[in-house]
């Protein structure tokens, strides 16, 4: 990595290990998070292929896969039912906690927050390093559950007790479940270190002129996400510890009296399984916004930069991010409509759930409006950003079905839910991740990714995602429950075999298409053409320093901010972009002085003390 001119001499004194392994530099930590998450994405992806193998051809023989996962298959190559549930559980847990949360908050959050606000690093670099270094141990603990007696947990990423609480309730409810809980506890501590850091950094370390009202949306999204994490993950932490107590210390938070499991009377007394669901979803719903807010920010950035146009409705965007964040704490009960809680409570959650759809709609229309009369450069980043908008619309609209409790009663725990959240959360967040990588790769690694391969990756992924997940709505319409090893036991599901095969084939294609990305990513890392500072002609601060930025980010003096981040295609200005560091008076104009009134957000913002604006 290029070393800056004498900017921070300290860097020279650090050995390889302190520089690249136990680094306290936010950029290195961000890249470490990103790389580790991409590795985990591959693991989670392979598990997804196993799921689709089984559902496409239930009870089929897969000699080759047996070689890969000896314990999971019977001797004639049939995937075992308990291994199937272990795979489903691990796929979900890995994708949500170990890929999307870590890549979007840990990866982009770390890399972008200090760079976009003009800071030299995070507020607490040492804590930041600790935060990353809790992540690999959590992975080791999680994956080791595959190799213990009974295998990985069978209880789904939601881990509802008593299934997850009682050892003999399922093969995976033994040591495997304990490891899962411990792993999650470790990861939560890592998330808390991270989010504390992000919040403090945004509040304390913004450079001169960078008022909150001039922060790019990607930073706003990261900031809000960190608050969500800080407030919601401790609740899951408490739940996880309580469940560990129930499992190992004889408490009964979640297990009621009088259960008979495996022919034996259970000794626990007086707990309530619904308590877990309330605690879990109190995290669980904010968590889905933890996964979607950062991509929303990323996409807002990409649409503006590659559309050469200011993001439409900046203030409304910030307000909707905040509204979504606030409301996300009030909707957890919509996951529990048929759980046995009072139906009146269901009505209350219906109202809050549909309320949260309004800011989501505003954001969507703002993105669409940003495209109107833009000057679109269809880079891979832009294609993925537009794809994100489409996926979010499709997934958001099915959310309107689920928000109506009587309708949710039918769709709950069917493939309709699987389709819904794979569009609105999984795929949309993934598109945000890809878009962000194509966009910031030059800044992260100082090299460009290959555009042609990037586009090919987009076309195949976009088609693959729709072909895989859209038909799942109809599996759900027909009533196919999720987490079934095979739908063939039921007469009413027999007609779905063909559709299930189609979905599986599409999923395999989708999986294969990701190899293009891996190839492009790795090749560009070493062979890509060198990137200039600002290859996309973007306004935000990270593009005003070298690619990759030196240790300390900015050389001797911190940048000063003079305007909002979205001055693209300002009439009469000479260039079609005006970086945030350019003072009003210094804008090169084609004819005469630039009218202040044209400068968007900068005008709305009271000039900060010391601002050069006149």
């Amino acid at each position: 990595m290029a070393v800056a001119h004498g900017a921070v001499h300290e860097e020279h004194r650090l050995g390889f290990i302190r520089r690249y392994i136990f680094s306290q530099d936010h950029k290195i930590i961000g890249i470490q998070y990103m790389m580790t998450s991409l590795f985990m994405a591959a693991v989670g992806g392979v598990l997804a292929m196993l799921i689709r193998m089984e559902l496409g051809w239930p009870g089929g023989h897969w000699g080759v896969a047996r070689w890969l996962f000896p314990g999971g298959f019977s001797s004639d190559g049939v995937l075992k039912p308990d291994f199937y549930l272990a795979v489903v559980t691990m796929h979900g847990s890995i994708m949500i906690f170990f890929v999307l949360t870590t890549a979007l908050s840990g990866g982009f959050g770390n890399f972008l927050i200090p760079l976009t606000i003009g800071a030299r690093d995070m507020a607490f670099p040492f804590l930041n390093m600790l935060s990353y270094w809790l992540y690999p141990p959590a992975i080791v603990v999680l994956l080791s559950s595959f190799f213990v007696a009974g295998g990985a947990p069978n209880s789904g990423w939601t881990a509802y007790p008593p299934l997850s609480a009682l050892r003999n309730a399922a093969p995976g409810s033994g040591l495997g479940q304990t490891l899962w809980l411990v792993s999650l506890a470790i990861l939560i501590v890592s998330f808390l270190f991270g989010s504390l850091n992000y919040i403090t950094t945004v509040l304390q370390l913004r450079t001169r002129g960078m008022s909150m009202g001039r922060m790019p949306l990607v930073t706003w999204a990261q900031f809000t996400t960190a608050i969500l994490m800080l407030l919601s993950f401790p609740v899951l932490f408490a739940a996880v510890v309580m469940l560990l107590f129930d499992r190992h210390l004889g408490t009964s938070f979640f297990v009621p009296s009088g259960l008979v499991v495996g022919g034996q009377l259970v000794t626990h007394q007086g707990g309530n399984p619904l308590l877990w669901q309330h605690l879990f979803w109190f995290l669980g719903h904010p968590e889905v916004y933890v996964l979607i807010l950062p991509p929303m920010g990323i996409v807002s950035e990409i649409l503006a930069v590659h559309g050469r146009k200011p993001i439409f409705g900046y203030k409304a965007m910030v307000a909707s991010i905040c509204a979504i964040a606030f409301l996300s704490f009030l909707v957890w009960g919509h996951h529990m409509i048929v759980s046995g809680m009072n139906p009146l409570v269901g009505t209350a959650f219906m109202v809050t759930t549909l309320a949260i759809a309004i800011p989501s709609a505003i954001k969507t229309f703002n993105w669409v409006a940003t495209l109107w009369r833009a000057r679109i450069h269809f880079t891979p980043a832009m294609l993925f950003a537009i794809g994100f908008v489409s996926l979010f619309i499709t997934g958001g609209l099915t959310g309107i079905f689920l928000g109506s409790p009587a309708v949710d009663t039918y769709f709950h725990d069917t493939f309709f839910i699987v389709a819904h959240f794979h569009f609105v959360m999984a795929s949309a967040a993934l598109f945000g991740l890809f878009g962000g990588l194509y966009h910031w790769f030059p800044k992260m690694f100082g090299r460009m990714m290959d555009e042609r391969l990037g586009k090919m990756h987009f076309w195949l992924t976009f088609v693959g995602i729709y072909a895989t997940f859209f038909p799942m709505h109809f599996l759900g319409m027909a009533g196919e429950p999720r987490r079934y090893y095979s739908p063939q036991m039921y007469d009413f599901l027999r007609g779905l075999a063909g559709l299930n095969m189609f979905v599986s084939v599409a999923a395999f294609g989708l999986g294969l298409a990701q190899l293009i990305f891996i190839y492009n990513f790795l090749r560009s890392l070493f062979r890509g053409p060198k990137a200039e500072r600002n290859p996309w002609h973007a306004n935000t601060l990270e593009w005003q320093t070298e690619s990759p930025p030196p240790h300390g980010n900015w050389g001797a003096i911190l940048p000063t901010v003079h305007r909002w981040p979205y001055d693209y295609s300002v009439p009469d200005a000479m260039d079609d972009f005006i970086p945030q560091t350019v003072p009003a008076a210094a804008v090169p104009v084609a004819g005469g002085a630039l009218d202040d009134g044209l400068q968007g957000g900068a005008v709305d913002e009271p000039p900060v003390a010391g601002s050069e604006r006149t």
Partner: protein
């Protein structure tokens, strides 16, 4: 360096994307839905409240379908039209109070309408059961269903988990307590028989972990939560035989936890019940 020079392919890529959106998403989505109507759809509804639920689903389908198509067409149009070309600049346009207010208020109005319709149906589904409703108990276990009718006295006798006979052994799978006189005439069965057009209250329990009592044809689903007895009611309206599925992950046999409900005339149910009690 006034603009990033527009690589020649931008418009072409835009048109490709626009075409893909129209063909794959709009035409493909609508086409697949029509195809699904014939092959992969909800079972014909067989309960009274299910008709309301279906109407709600269709209404939501219509509303969201229209939005789905329109917004995607809009995106396709913009993508088609605004690919970088020539030397023109994008519009410096970033706020429009009226437009933003419109697309806040219109979705809000639509959502409020849908909420209100949904609230009405939900309230009806969970209204108090009619006085003439019969009652039956459903008890879920790994991995099957057990049903109990209260018998002539109309009272469910006491059950005690300690009395449940071990798996595989006949005897007392429900754990009925013989010390309670009310349990003497309780009828425990492995199948559910219900009278057509007669409301039925179903008390749902579980022996071990959480299950979910799902009858797709009735649009009925309710979790069976250990430690709780949850009651729902509905009215089957079509004679016939229907499947019960478990909809909540309950262990390795989750996918085989199949049950059967037969809807027949009142007399047929009584005859069947008489045969069950020996």
């Amino acid at each position: 360096m006034a603009e990033i020079p527009a690589p020649t392919g931008e418009r072409r890529t835009g048109r490709l994307l626009a075409t893909l959106i129209v063909v794959m998403i709009v035409l493909g989505g609508v086409g697949m839905t029509l195809l699904a109507r014939r092959h992969w759809w909800m079972l014909p509804v067989a309960s009274a409240h299910g008709v309301d639920v279906d109407r709600l689903i269709y209404t939501t389908f219509a509303v969201t379908g229209i939005v789905f198509v329109l917004v995607h067409l809009l995106i396709a149009g913009f993508v088609w039209r605004y690919g970088a070309h020539g030397t023109g600049r994008a519009a410096y346009w970033h706020d429009d109070r009226t437009l933003e207010l419109t697309y806040t208020l219109v979705p809000a109005a639509v959502l409020v309408t849908l909420i209100s319709m949904g609230a009405v149906v939900w309230a009806r589904v969970h209204s108090p059961a009619p006085a003439d409703a019969t009652v039956v108990e459903v008890r879920a276990e790994q991995f099957g269903w057990l049903f109990r009718y209260p018998g002539p006295d109309g009272i469910f006798g006491r059950v005690d988990p300690a009395l449940i006979s071990p798996p595989g052994k006949p005897g007392n799978p429900m754990g009925l307590d013989p010390a309670d006189p009310a349990s003497a005439d309780d009828i425990v069965t492995r199948e559910l028989h219900l009278a057509v057009n007669r409301p039925v209250r179903v008390r749902i329990r579980s022996k071990d972990v959480i299950h979910s009592f799902f009858i797709p044809a009735f649009r009925v689903k309710q979790d069976a939560v250990p430690g709780m007895t949850v009651e729902i009611w509905f009215t089957p309206t079509q004679e016939g035989s229907y499947e019960i599925a478990c909809a909540q992950l309950c262990g390795i046999g989750h996918y085989i936890m199949r049950g059967k409900v037969t809807v027949e005339s009142e007399e047929a149910v009584l005859t069947w019940l008489a045969q069950q009690s020996h």
